[in-house]
């Protein structure tokens, strides 16, 4: 089933999925305007296809497939599905990189929903400036409109120095310029645009410039990946929501000297992994987190 869902349906869905994070902070009031349909989409992130590390995830070859099945099992089908980067785990070998990208693409072709949006992560794109990734998935930054919401995908990984770059920032400025100041805007990217933990590469060098371009717009929400855990942060009125990974969780930002994966717990397999749905409804953005497999 495609299309809009009503609030009762969404709450039923949320109840099945577990915790609901609801935020009115990002202020999507204009989504309630005439002609703007309610809808929801799904975010998956950091699948790292090709990763091998049984201490972190002994089911590295099965987790993505389980996630595909879990998304297909959603009672109400999303309008579209986004992948916010690190589709594959990095490799120095260009042939292996393409093999991993091809396998990833083949696996997610199993999603019932055919409306898929992809973004690269540094593992996919930084070693060849996005060349192989683009062969499979097209442009690394783009925008589109869906039911009254403007979506922008920002690439902060094809430059291995974690920069968006002047050319893309100019594109972003021009892309936003045609929008009214109350336009609902959803930004999707891989790294955090703000300095979450620069010592762990959890930052974008020129992310502040992107935030400055977005700041005049009243209804902006950012969804990103990279840090392998749920995280919520405000820069002014702009909310930034990090998604869980589908390979291994990482420890909390700054919680210890070194960034490292959380060890797999055989008593609680797939703990800390998952995906989310995002619903835009009137004055709220509602995020529902889903596990890969139900306990």
């Amino acid at each position: 089933m495609q299309g809009p869902i009503d609030r009762r349906d969404f709450l039923k869905l949320a109840g099945l999925g577990g915790a609901v994070f609801a935020s009115g902070l990002a202020g999507c009031a204009s989504m309630a305007g005439a002609g703007q349909d309610e809808f929801y989409f799904v975010q998956l992130s950091d699948t790292h296809w090709g990763f091998k590390g049984p201490v972190a995830n002994p089911d590295a070859e099965g987790t993505l497939k389980k996630a595909v099945a879990a998304v297909n099992a959603l009672a109400v089908k999303p309008d579209f599905i986004v992948f916010t980067g690190d589709l594959t785990h990095t490799t120095d070998d260009p042939k292996e990189r393409r093999r991993r990208l091809a396998e990833f693409k083949s696996i997610v072709a199993g999603l019932d929903n055919r409306n898929l949006r992809f973004m690269p992560g540094e593992h996919d794109a930084s070693l060849d400036h996005g060349q192989a990734w683009s062969e499979f998935f097209g442009p690394t930054h783009y925008s589109f409109d869906h039911k009254g919401v403007h979506f922008v995908a920002i690439d902060n990984v094809s430059d291995p120095a974690a920069k968006i770059g002047e050319a893309q920032l100019a594109w972003l400025k021009a892309d936003l310029a045609r929008l009214p100041m109350d336009a609902p805007i959803v930004v999707m990217t891989h790294r955090p645009l703000f300095d979450l933990a620069p010592q762990w590469d959890w930052a974008t060098r020129d992310g502040a410039q992107a935030i400055a371009l977005l700041m005049p717009y009243r209804n902006v929400t950012v969804f990103y990946g990279h840090i392998h855990q749920e995280h919520h942060h405000m820069t002014g009125h702009i909310a930034h929501h990090a998604a869980k990974s589908l390979i291994f969780p990482l420890v909390a930002p700054g919680s210890q000297p070194k960034r490292e994966p959380v060890k797999w717990d055989p008593a609680h397999p797939y703990q800390g992994l998952g995906f989310r749905s995002i619903e835009a409804e009137k004055a709220e953005v509602k995020i529902t987190e889903y596990p890969v497999v139900r306990a």
């Binding site: 785990h89 990095t90 490799t91 070693l127 291995p160 974690a162 620069p198 010592q199 762990w200 590469d201």
Partner: protein, 117 residues
């Protein structure tokens, strides 16, 4: 000014500049070599307030040399010596990291400077 006299004046200026350069205290040079996925040396002892110049090279791909605590750093490009002046202004142990993605071991590539009084 006649040509001969101009040459004499220029020669005198060059001598003066050379003497001034010799009179300046030499900055301490700290050579650091980067390669996938390590820095050598990985631990560097510095003295608070004493200026140093890092001479940075990479043996394979472009790397970063970044000190998060100081919010400063530079890129290290293959085939070139990158000179990076730095003066530690506080005591303590501070990480430096590679902040240019260089492959699978990138996330663990780093070292530390130990700044004493």
């Amino acid at each position: 000014m006649q040509p001969q006299r101009r040459r004499l004046v220029l020669a005198g200026l060059a001598t003066a500049f050379g003497a001034a350069a010799l009179a300046q205290p030499k900055e301490k040079l700290v050579r650091v070599v980067a390669k996938k996925f390590e820095f050598t040396p990985a631990e560097i002892a510095l003295v608070k307030g004493e200026p140093v110049v890092f001479e940075l090279t990479t043996e394979d791909v472009t790397m970063g040399f970044y000190l998060p605590a100081y919010k400063t750093g530079t890129e290290i490009v293959p085939g070139r010596v990158t000179r990076f002046p730095f003066t530690p202004d506080r005591e303590g142990t501070f990480e430096f990291i590679c902040d240019v993605f260089c492959g699978e071991g990138h996330e663990d590539m780093g070292g530390k400077i130990v700044v004493s009084a």
